[in-house]
Amino acid sequence: MTISAQVKQTLASLKGVQATLETFASAGENPEAKEMLSRNSQKIAIIIKDLEKRLGVLEFEEPQYKGF
């Protein structure tokens, strides 16, 4: 597997986790837990953004593996 494919996989997993955290945050009642969940989901969003940027560079370098 090329590195871009691996990064794509990580990216997908991270997006999945972020979605799970958001679901938990919306379902919960405890305001503290809700706040913590959404704060961490925002942190993950930053990483997702960084990884996507990196993925763009990788795809530029290896255009033959472009696309999901």
Binding site: S13, G16, F24, N40, D50
Partner: protein, 286 residues
């Protein structure tokens, strides 16, 4: 009137009367019997029995005694709620039996407690070694409460230095196959959500005996048909494991890449992820 009829009428009447009068005294009696409670209870019972068996010749005399024995305790209970002095006399004070790990012999004598009594009471609290007790007190009800030494106390999240996640009460959303709308709305959910969740695990609503939703919205089920295995919700554990995997991935990429800026970006991401993992661990794992 034949004697049997009068006894029947008296007994029936007294049964109802005592029932009402005892209600006056209040609920505390049954849950925590002090010696005083015991005495009044026996007195009321004996008087009622004596009247109903015609042992008291004049009915009015018996009734007066009965009213006094129920009215006074009721009054004293009311007073004891207000004044501590009354409370101490009526309900008695607690006696310290063990202080700083040392048995106080004179207090034992005061409470008419033999050493065997003390040990047997401690055993009831699952304390088999008296040396484990830091402080023990004889409650007015005759029960012994014991505080264990710090190193003998059961392990809690705090003493283990762990962070425990906040969790609110799970809501019961289905009982006996019937959907409970009120708890559902309390969680901010609706019937359609429940039907979707049931469809995901592949269970018919009429087959559900109990369904509960925990604080993060995961559904736990028990079915009428015990042969069917319901998958346990794993979303929390799965999310935690995925986070850890992503963090490891980022570290791996940081090692693999030759570009310094990419290396730095991966390193930073892995750092943030480990922070996230640390913060979410109590909620997702415990």
């Amino acid at each position: 009137m034949p004697e049997w009829l009068s006894i029947l009428l008296r007994s029936a009447g007294l049964f109802i009367l005592t029932l009402l009068l005892v209600r006056l005294i209040g609920k505390r009696q049954t849950s925590r019997l002090t010696f005083f409670d015991l005495v009044t209870g026996i007195a009321i019972g004996v008087i009622a029995a004596a009247i109903s068996l015609n042992l008291v010749v004049i009915l009015a005399n018996g009734l007066i005694a009965l009213v006094v024995w129920t009215g006074f305790p009721a009054l004293i209970y009311l007073l004891s709620i207000k004044y501590k002095a009354v409370r101490d006399i009526v309900q008695g004070k607690e006696t310290v039996l063990i202080n700083h790990g040392k048995v106080l012999e004179d207090k034992l004598l005061e409470a008419r407690f033999t050493p065997e009594d003390l040990l047997s009471q401690l055993r009831k609290k699952n304390v088999f070694n008296f040396a484990d007790v830091e402080f023990a007190v004889l409650e007015p009800t005759g029960e012994v409460s014991a505080l264990l030494k710090k190193d003998k106390q059961p392990l809690t999240a705090k003493t283990a230095g762990l962070n425990a996640g906040q969790e609110s009460v799970p809501q019961t959303v289905m009982l006996d196959g019937i959907i409970m709308d009120e708890p559902l709305t309390a969680m901010g959910l609706n019937r359609r959500w429940l039907h979707t969740e049931l469809e995901i695990v592949g269970v018919a609503p009429e087959n559900v005996f109990i369904a509960q939703v925990d604080s993060v919205g995961q559904l736990y089920l028990d079915l009428f048909d015990d042969a069917i295995q319901v998958p346990k919700p794993k979303a929390k554990e799965l999310a935690f494991a995925t986070l850890k995997k992503c963090q490891a991935d980022c570290e791996l990429y940081a090692l693999g890449t030759k570009q310094p800026e990419a290396k730095e970006m991966y390193g930073k991401s892995s750092g943030i992820l480990s922070e996230v993992i640390e913060e979410l661990e109590p909620l997702l794992k415990r």
